[in-house]
Every structure is written in structure tokens, then in C-alpha cells.
């Protein structure tokens, strides 16, 4: 079992089905013990502590001010620069398991197909079912099996992207591992963070997972066709989204019936046009 998240699934990171020990951040995840100087943050300067009385002799304090995920942040920025140079629009799609990420990605790629070429990177703990579904639909897809890691990291995306012909793509969609907690903290280098909430989940999900919903650029209410059957309180859900994700664009749609899809597609096309500038 993973000591990090207790997910109960053991394994290693695989990209496209092949072990990717180089890709997996055992370094990020479990510490690699190397000690080199880091760029950002500047050289640490030490100074004697002001409050000498509370301080055993010989001890010094030094300000560090470095983010605990700075390595991922650096790699995410590198990804972002690389993707921008390729004029790709990159989406990081996040939600609980089963909210409809794969289905929405498949439908989106199918509708865009006549105008924009879409590629997908799918993160999953253990299976490659989602990648298989997308591949069957004719979409270029790379599977990242994260093993014990319940989120994608920037380094995994860099490795996975090497396996796609990015020059032949306009939009890269990343399906993150189904999890509303830690993926919020890992920038992948995306342009837009898309967080899904399905009508079959609680309306108060945004209030239960504030870091994730706050980080959303776009919130999508999915499975609108099931809203009535599920007794979904639309007003309450939208109020919760507006409060936690004040700045996010909100879409309501059903990937099953296509209801609400045109507004979402039009938005992506606009975003892609500005990514291309």
C-alpha cells in the first residue's frame, strides 16, 4: 500500500505501458537525497538570531522561503513554455472518479475533429481502460499508469508528451487521476484547469474541496441529463461554484445527449485561437 495516500494500489509509473523509472519521480515522491544547489530562492544567507537569550550558542537561523513543490513547479513551467512554443492549448481535466472526464474528452475530441486535432494524456492508478476507450475512438492517446501516485506530476507529462506527435496537434487534453485532493497542488504546465462536478454527486462538493474548486479556470457541471433523476439542486450547486470558484467560467452539459456542448466547444475554440496568437 502506498504510504502517501493509502490508496491500496501498489505499482510503478508506466508510460504507454512501459516502466518509466526515469519518468517516475521517485525523486519527487520519495526524496532522492541528492544535494545540489537550487536556482530559485537565491543563495541562503545566514545571520545570527536576534533573540539570543532563547537560543543555544552556536545555533544559527536562516530564512529559506522555498516551496515544498518547487521542483514540480519548475518542471511545469518548462512544460508550459514548451507547449506554448508549439501553440498547443493544454487542458488539465480533474474530478472525482466517475464524474465523466473520459466521456467528455471523447465527445469533445469527436466534435472538434473536423477543425482541431486533439491528443490526450490519461493518468490512471492501474488500468488503461480509459486510454483504450479513447484510442478506439481514433484519438492519439498516451497512458500514464501512476502506480501508487494518486495524481499526475509535471515530469510525467513531459515524458508522456514525448510519445505524442505534438506538431500534429492543436489541443492537448490531460485526464488527471480521479481525485479531488492532491492533483490541485500539482501544476502540469496546462493553460486551463477544468474541474468537473457531475449532477450525481453532492451539490456541496465545491464546499468540501475548496482548494481544487478554487484552482479551477473552468467548472463543468456534467451529466445534466441525469439532474432530475438524481434530484440535483442546480441553484445550490451553482451558488457553491460561484462562491468557491468566483473567477471560473461555468458550463452545464451532458456529454451523453450533447446538451450544452456547443457553448463548451465554442469556448475551447476561442481559447485555442488565443493560444495560437
Amino acid at each position: 500500500m502506498c504510504q502517501e495516500c493509502g490508496c491500496g494500489i501498489g505499482g510503478e509509473v508506466k508510460i504507454g505501458g512501459r516502466p518509466a523509472s526515469a519518468a517516475h519521480s521517485h525523486s519527487t515522491h520519495h526524496g532522492d537525497g541528492h544535494s545540489h544547489e537550487h536556482g530559485g530562492g537565491g543563495a541562503p544567507h545566514s545571520h545570527a538570531h536576534d533573540d539570543a537569550t532563547a537560543f543555544p550558542p552556536g545555533r544559527q537561523t536562516v530564512a529559506v522561503q522555498r516551496g515544498l513543490l518547487e521542483k514540480n513547479e519548475r518542471l511545469a513551467e518548462r512544460n508550459r513554455g514548451f507547449f506554448r512554443a508549439k501553440k498547443l492549448l493544454v487542458l488539465n481535466v480533474l474530478s472525482s472518479p466517475g464524474s465523466g472526464k473520459t466521456t467528455l474528452i471523447q465527445k469533445t475530441a469527436a466534435i472538434l475533429a473536423s477543425r482541431l486535432r486533439v491528443g490526450v494524456i490519461v493518468g490512471d492508478l492501474a488500468t488503461d481502460n480509459d486510454a483504450a476507450r479513447l484510442r478506439e475512438a481514433g484519438i492519439p492517446v498516451v497512458q500514464v499508469t501512476t502506480g501508487t501516485v494518486c495524481h499526475l506530476e509535471a515530469e510525467m507529462i513531459a515524458k508522456a508528451a514525448e510519445r505524442l506527435d505534438l506538431d500534429a496537434l492543436d489541443v492537448l487534453i490531460i485526464e488527471n487521476v480521479g481525485n479531488l485532493v492532491c492533483p490541485a497542488a500539482y501544476d502540469l504546465g496546462e493553460d486551463l484547469r477544468i474541474v468537473l462536478l457531475s449532477t450525481t454527486e453532492g451539490e456541496d462538493k465545491p464546499l468540501k474541496y475548496p482548494p481544487m474548486f478554487h484552482s479551477a479556470d473552468v467548472a463543468v457541471v456534467t451529466k445534466s441529463d441525469l439532474a432530475a433523476a438524481a434530484g440535483f439542486d442546480r441553484a445550490q450547486a451553482l451558488a457553491a461554484l460561484h462562491r468557491i470558484a468566483h473567477h471560473a467560467r461555468i458550463f452545464e452539459l451532458s456529454a451523453r445527449t450533447g446538451d450544452g456542448m456547443p457553448a463548451w466547444i465554442e469556448y475551447l475554440e476561442q481559447q485555442r485561437a488565443s493560444a495560437k496568437r
Partner: protein, 113 residues
């Protein structure tokens, strides 16, 4: 969240910093953790002893500064804490979109010799 690996990163940076300043041992690790970061401070505390074991930070004290979620209201030109994360200004009741603090997860400082 991944408190064990976050703690490992913190200890690695702490030891690197101490060594870069000519130190050998880390005695105290001060972290800054925002209420909106998703990090559970108790889980960091729980992980600390285990992660420090066998490193130059063995036995180091962990101090965690918990940073409340704090928003800025442009209308009232004030900062306000928003413990429920809803960002509603207590003065004008408008909802602020601008989170100023609360997402931190960083190594603030260390004490070493």
C-alpha cells in the same frame, strides 16, 4: 495530500541549506502551510520524526505556521480572513475573487549548527 513526501522535500531542503551555510545539523524546521493548501499539518507532524531519522535533521523540532485563507476586497480596500473559504467581505458582503494568502506550502526557515 502527500504529507510524507512534502516532509521529505522539506527535510532535504533543510539539510541542503544547512550544509550550504557550513552547518552539520538541523535543529528546527519551520514550515508555512496555508489553510487552502490542502495540506494537513498534523499529518506533517506525524511524518516528521520518521522522515528525519538517520538524516542530519534527526531529532529536529518542527514548527508549523498555519496561514489563514485571506482575501482582498478591492471595493473596501481591506484584507480579510475567510475561514470558510467563501471570500465574502465582512464589510460590504461582496464576494472577493482575490485570494491573497492561504495556499502556501513552504520551508520558511531552519535553525542549524
Amino acid at each position: 495530500m502527500h504529507e510524507v513526501s512534502l516532509m521529505e522535500n522539506a527535510v532535504r531542503m533543510a539539510v541542503e541549506t544547512a550544509r550550504a551555510s557550513g552547518g552539520e545539523r538541523v535543529h528546527r524546521i519551520r514550515l508555512r502551510v496555508g489553510a487552502m493548501s490542502g495540506v494537513v499539518p498534523d499529518a506533517l507532524r506525524f511524518a516528521c520524526d520518521m522522515v528525519c531519522q538517520g538524516t542530519p535533521a534527526d531529532g529536529a523540532e518542527l514548527e508549523i505556521e498555519e496561514v489563514p485563507a485571506t482575501c482582498w476586497c478591492a471595493h473596501c480596500a481591506v484584507e480579510f480572513a475567510t475561514p470558510d473559504f467563501l471570500g465574502q467581505c465582512p464589510h460590504c458582503h461582496a464576494v472577493s475573487g482575490e485570494l491573497r494568502r492561504g495556499t502556501e506550502m513552504e520551508l520558511a526557515s531552519i535553525e542549524f549548527s
